[in-house]
Structures are given as C-alpha cells and as structure tokens.
Subunit: 351 residues, 2 copies
Amino acid sequence: MTGSMQVRELFKEYGGEVDATLRNFLLEKDQGLEMYGHMAYFMGFADENLQPIETYGGKRFRSSVCLMLADWFGAKEPAVPVASAIELFHNFTLIHDDIVDGDTYRRGRKTVWNVWGKDHAINSGDAQLLLVYQILSQNSVLTEGQLLQIQHFLTKQYLRVAEGQYLDFTLTTARLDDHFVTEDRYFEMIGRKTAALIAAATKSAGMVAGLGEPEQEALYQYGYNLGVAYQVCDDMVSIWGTSKQTGKRTGGDVLERKKTLPILRALEQLPESGRRSLLEYYHDVTDATEKDVQEVVSLLDSIDMYEQMKKVVSDKADIAKSMITILPITTDQQQTMGEVVDILLPDIKSA
Amino acid sequence: MTGSMQVRELFKEYGGEVDATLRNFLLEKDQGLEMYGHMAYFMGFADENLQPIETYGGKRFRSSVCLMLADWFGAKEPAVPVASAIELFHNFTLIHDDIVDGDTYRRGRKTVWNVWGKDHAINSGDAQLLLVYQILSQNSVLTEGQLLQIQHFLTKQYLRVAEGQYLDFTLTTARLDDHFVTEDRYFEMIGRKTAALIAAATKSAGMVAGLGEPEQEALYQYGYNLGVAYQVCDDMVSIWGTSKQTGKRTGGDVLERKKTLPILRALEQLPESGRRSLLEYYHDVTDATEKDVQEVVSLLDSIDMYEQMKKVVSDKADIAKSMITILPITTDQQQTMGEVVDILLPDIKSA
C-alpha cells in the first residue's frame, strides 16, 4: 500500500467514526422537527425526503486528522465529541456560505437553501451551531476544566472563521486597486477563514491528550500552515484547474473577479501595460467570456505565477512538516503526517 | 411611586448594568473588524457609522428580570454574564429574524441587513451567537460545574427558540384549513419561540443562586407562562391595537395572514358562513385592503374573541403569579414580581 493510499484508508476509518457519532446524534434529534433533518441531509445522512441513506458526504478532513492525532496520543475516546463538534461547525459554515454565495449545488447535491429555502437554511444553520456546543459537552472522560478550556479555544477559532468571512466580504466588494486590497490582507483573510479551523482540529487533539504547550503549539502551526497552503492551492485550482478537476467552470475565481493571491501578486509584478489590462478586466469588462479569462491567465503565466504559487505552497508545507518532529509519535506516524500534507496539496498541473 | 413605575425603575437599573457589560464587551472586540460594530449598532451602542452613542435599545426585559431575581437571591455578580448572554442571544435572533421577515426597521432604526446587506447580517449574527458562549464563560464566581450546567440548560432553551422559528415557518406557509394548523401547534410554536427564552431568564437566576429544584421549577413556570401570555397579548395588539400602539399598520397580522390564536379559534367557533369568509380572506383575497381587514376583525368581534383572548392571557398570568409564593423572597419582592406580569400584559383596549 502506498503512503497516500494508507492515509486515505486512515481518514476513511476516523471520518467514519465521526460520521457514526454525528449520524446518531442528528437522527435522535429529529422527532418530527424537520429542521434536524436539514442538517442530516447536508451531512449526507439523509436524502431530500429526509430518509436515511448510506453516508454521502465530504472528506471529513478536519475531524479525521483531529481524531487520528488524538488516537496516536492515546486520547481517542474524549476526542470523538471534539472532532464531531469541529466537523459540525465546518458544515454549519457551509450551509450559511451557500446562501451568501447563492450556490445551488455542493458535492453534487442541492444546497440546503436550494431545497428548503433561505429562511429554513438560516434557521437550521443557526440551530446546527447550537448543536456544536451541545455535542462537545457530551464527554464523560474530560474533566469540567479541560472541557471548558477546549471550548474556550474552539470558540476563539470559530470567531476567527467568522472574521475571515467578514474580511472576505470586504475584499470581494473592494476595487482591485483599493489601498487595503493587499497580499497581507489576503493572508489575514485565509488565515482566519480556512487555516484557523484546521489549526483548531490539530491543536485540540493535543489539548484533549494533555500534551505540553510546545507540542500544542507545534500542532497549531502544523494545522495553520497546512490550512494556508491548502487555501492557496484551492485558489490555484480555480485558475489553472480543468473543469474536470474542479467540478466547476474553468477559471471560476477569475470569472467572479475574486482577489486571490495570484491576482494580487500579478498586480504588483506585471509591467504597466499588463497591470492596466488586469485592472480593466476586473473593473470594466462586463459579461466576461472564456477568452477574457484566458487573457488573464496568460498575463499570470507571463510572469510564471503558477510556479510562484507552487513555491508559496511548498514553503508553507515545509513549515507544517517541520513541526512534526516535535511530537511524541513514532517515525511511521511522523511519515504519515508528512503524507497528509502532500495529499492535501497536489500539484494540479502534474495530476 | 406606583408599583408599575417602581418596576420600570428597577428594569432601568438592571438593564443598565447588562448594557454596560455588553457595551464594553463589544467595543473591546472591534479593532478594525466592523462585524463587531454591526452588533454594537444593533444593541444601540453605536450609530450607523459605528460611532459610540448613548445607549438606544430595546427594553432588555429578559436580562433585567434575570438580574433582578438573582440579586434578590443574593447572586447578582455571577448572574451578570448569564443575563448578558441571554440578552445577546435574543438580539442575535432578531438580527436573523429581520432578514427572514424582510423587515427594514426595528425600534425606529434600520435593521442590520438594511444597512450592511444580508451577507453581513447572516455572518455578524453567526458571530454574535458565538459571543453568547464567550460572554457566558467570563465568570469568576461560579464553579466550572455550575457554569457547564447553566450552559447546558441555556443551549437547550436556545434550541427551542430555533425550533419555534421552524414551527412558525411551517404555520406561515400552511393553509389555514390544513390539518396541522391547530391551537395546539400554535401554543407549541410560541412556547418555544417566545416563552422558552423568558423561562431561561427566570430559571437561570435560580440556578446561579443555587436554589432547590422546586424553586427553580417555579421560576421556570413563572417565566414560561408569562412568555406565553406575552405572545398572545402581542398577537392581540397586532389585530386590535391602533397604529399608535404598535408603530405598525393596524391589523398587521391579519394583513400578513398570520395564523395567530384569535384566527385559529375563530375558525373553530364561527358559524359556517363566517368560517367560509375567513377562509376566503386567507386563501383567495389578493391585495387585501383596510376594509378586508376590518371585515375579519368584525368576524372576530362577532364571537367576542377579544374577551376570549383576555381570558387566555389572564389564565396564564394567574399561573405565573401562583408560582411567586414558592420563592424565598420578601413580600415586597413578591408584589413586584406580580407587577412585572401586569406591566407586560396590558389591556390595550383600556390603555
């Protein structure tokens, strides 16, 4: 079995445990109140008629990595509610994000608002956020003090996710040449919107196990840097990935005039004529065509932006990997943690 | 000073303490992230430009009654974060409700979505719900066990509020003659949407003070029955109140075809011709006029529905008041609790 296959098997195993916990938790809630069914539907536990189905869901990356790490640290049992809470939180954000973005499909299925309307999607999402707190407290192993400490940490990270969403809105509505549309602001945004929750998943595994501060910090930095690299990768996919790879239109982020890292950096580096073309596309072109998008991509390619982004990703990946040796785990487990990074950050042009 | 004046003074005092706590809490959060300003704006601590203003807010009924009771039980200090959390939760629900209802103004000020858009209103509301948990844990008096117990109870009540919102959606979209549009369903809905949170405010005062189970249950029933009566009163105002009393159009709930108690009961009691008229109005009349609304009100008046509703309210008020004697408070305080009930449930026709 290759390393990457082994990681996928591990994630399937740990993700499966989280799924089983969440499935039971949500199905017990129902009792005629379909709002709980909306959540079960979105998690992939039920169909549109709210009939139970074999789980069809996301990759459960955040909860899998949390549970895997906690298991290695000898604290799997108390980590199950923690990992489940983080997964439930992540999916809550997606339910509300889908409303905001107007997305009608996700993972090949209709979004909650697309099935039951925006009113229900707002309310069922709100209720799901309350369940995040309820499931976390279903914990018979941790002391009350530990539980409150972990909850305090998670709440802070959840708030960062909302702050990241706020920063994303401000970036989206600003002009590309606005003074606060900067690379720093972009990293601040993805650091909160994406990386903070992955760091929450990795660090909380150490908190549950009662590891020391240096190990907890290493876990945080592992998750955080992995999260940042993951988001940059995602932005690369949306520009250079094929429809087959993304499941969406090629160049989606360019079409939607998203201010992602390749664009921000190109604005800094392009010669004046290219800079003008890019600004013109972002501000003046209405009804962008495939050809417009291709021209923007050509501008990026003219300054090797794909390779530059690969460098950003591999630098962050290296920082994440450098944290691994600090942890009290076997050499095999260290290798697996390295493979987790590689699997999450594929080179799409060679895929 | 009359009793009702005294209650208003007490509420101003206790509500003022909660406001001071929330104001500091929210203004400290800001630091360039305007989403925290959205919350401060909605609480009445800031204007649309997010500049601090003298507090302009709601009546803070839930938090005032919580803090007042806890003070009487000798546990004011640990009740401040609890009352603040409940007030923050209530206002979070309003931010999202305003989106759902499409309401552009509340308390004479623009709603959050009306100022910053629905995307921000969804996200800032979500973040406010996270702060509900953060502020609750800012508690140096309660033990960790007490804190978790109170949080567990509050989360259950918050979920009931979301369930009530869900039930309200289902009642709103159903036909008036649908088999599940019943008086029972209506009471189930308002019991969750409105009464559960008022009961949370009153019972948690007893929990903070460590009162016994019977006293805690009495506090719950006091708040719950007061909450149910309060909602029925509110429904009466929307039918029989003048624009001056409601700040909205006369007969608003009738115009919006809301299925409130007077309507549901009228459908049961009206003779066949009246029943048909009511159903026709609810299902077939488009562009209802003032005259249509007046006809519906006449139908209700023909079977003394106003007096019937007064009876429902006074029955619930009596149950609430019957709980007071169980509590370890002075006769004066008992009298004040009775006056709280009376103030919250005015007879609008004699007002």
